[in-house]
Amino acid sequence: MTSHSRIRRFFFPSLTPRFLIRVCFVAVAAYLFFGHVLIPIRIQGTSMEPTYRNGGMNFCWKLRYLFSKPERHDVVAVRFAGNRVMLLKRVVALEGEQVEFRNGKLFVDGGEIPEPYVLNPCNWNLPPREVETGCVYVVGDNRSMPIENHYFGQTSVKRIVGVPLW
């Protein structure tokens, strides 16, 4: 078989039953993998800047918390009614912990938590509140806007779908 005919066969394969079965298998595998394991996501909004830029592409790795729980500083995808629309936020406090903001600094159980990923100046103040059982406290990295305009807070661990792949 010449290399020319091999290339031709690669791009224009004959529709044999074996080839059709292979196509079906690849299609089903791709649907299951990219629909339920590694979901492609497009980032919209600026709440996670500068870590994740508006308009960027990524994948949501759903198996990340199969055998573990979210930890502080993890970036997680939080679902709404389904998987079509998700929030990308960072876990800053875990269940049972007291979380608060003082002049833009994060305090958990009274101790200041360094946040090297927050690069924009911030002057947020939030009175202390305890994170309920089965929940985590999530906030975006971009704190440049007033606290009222930033969508953040406590959410159920059950709503965490996965993590961005990078």
Binding site: F80, A81, N83, V85, L87, F152, G153, Q154, T155, R159
Partner: protein, 166 residues
């Protein structure tokens, strides 16, 4: 032998016909989903929308709601029961602030907990551009109850689910 072939062909044709009738006939779930498509259409706005089109849309928007509709939201001031006229009026005022507005509904899950009552959970995404050119984007999970009145599915209760609790 020939007769048997005709019988088989007739059975296949009847089967396909039944499948087409079942598949294409508007089921109750499709009718409920249609109400959300209409809601999205009436709330959305193009920059070149004229006053007559706006008035017609607001009138149509009111017709999607029952005589009264209860709104339940974490912001106490907005919670309450509204008539369809009030809903049209508030929606018209809110739309006037945005030259361009778009309401998208995702991840609709429709169930029928009672006879002639539909419960729908969904993710609603409202995207708009203010007159100052500022881009606004709000995403919320909603739980809606629709009741069938005179053959129409009308909104009777809308609850904004608190995904993140400050």
């Amino acid at each position: 032998m020939v007769r048997l072939r005709y019988v088989i062909i007739a059975l296949v044709v009847v089967g396909l016909g039944l499948f087409a009738v079942v598949y294409f006939s508007p089921s109750e779930e499709k009718r409920v989903r249609k109400q959300f498509d209409l809601l999205s259409e009436y709330v959305s706005k193009d920059p070149d929308e004229n006053a007559i089109a706006m008035a017609r849309k607001m009138q149509n928007l009111g017709s999607l709601f029952g005589d009264s509709c209860e709104l339940q939201i974490a912001v106490e001031v907005l919670s309450g029961t509204y008539t369809r006229e009030e809903i049209s009026s508030y929606a018209a005022r809110a739309r006037a602030r945005f030259p361009k507005l778009s309401l998208g509904v995702n991840d609709l899950q429709v169930t029928f907990p009672e006879h002639e009552v539909a419960k729908v959970t969904l993710t609603a995404r409202l995207t708009g551009q203010t007159r100052a050119g500022e881009q606004r984007r709000e995403t919320r999970e909603l739980e809606c109850l629709l009741k069938k009145t005179e053959g129409k599915w009308l909104f009777s209760h809308i609850e904004v689910i608190e995904v993140l609790k400050k």
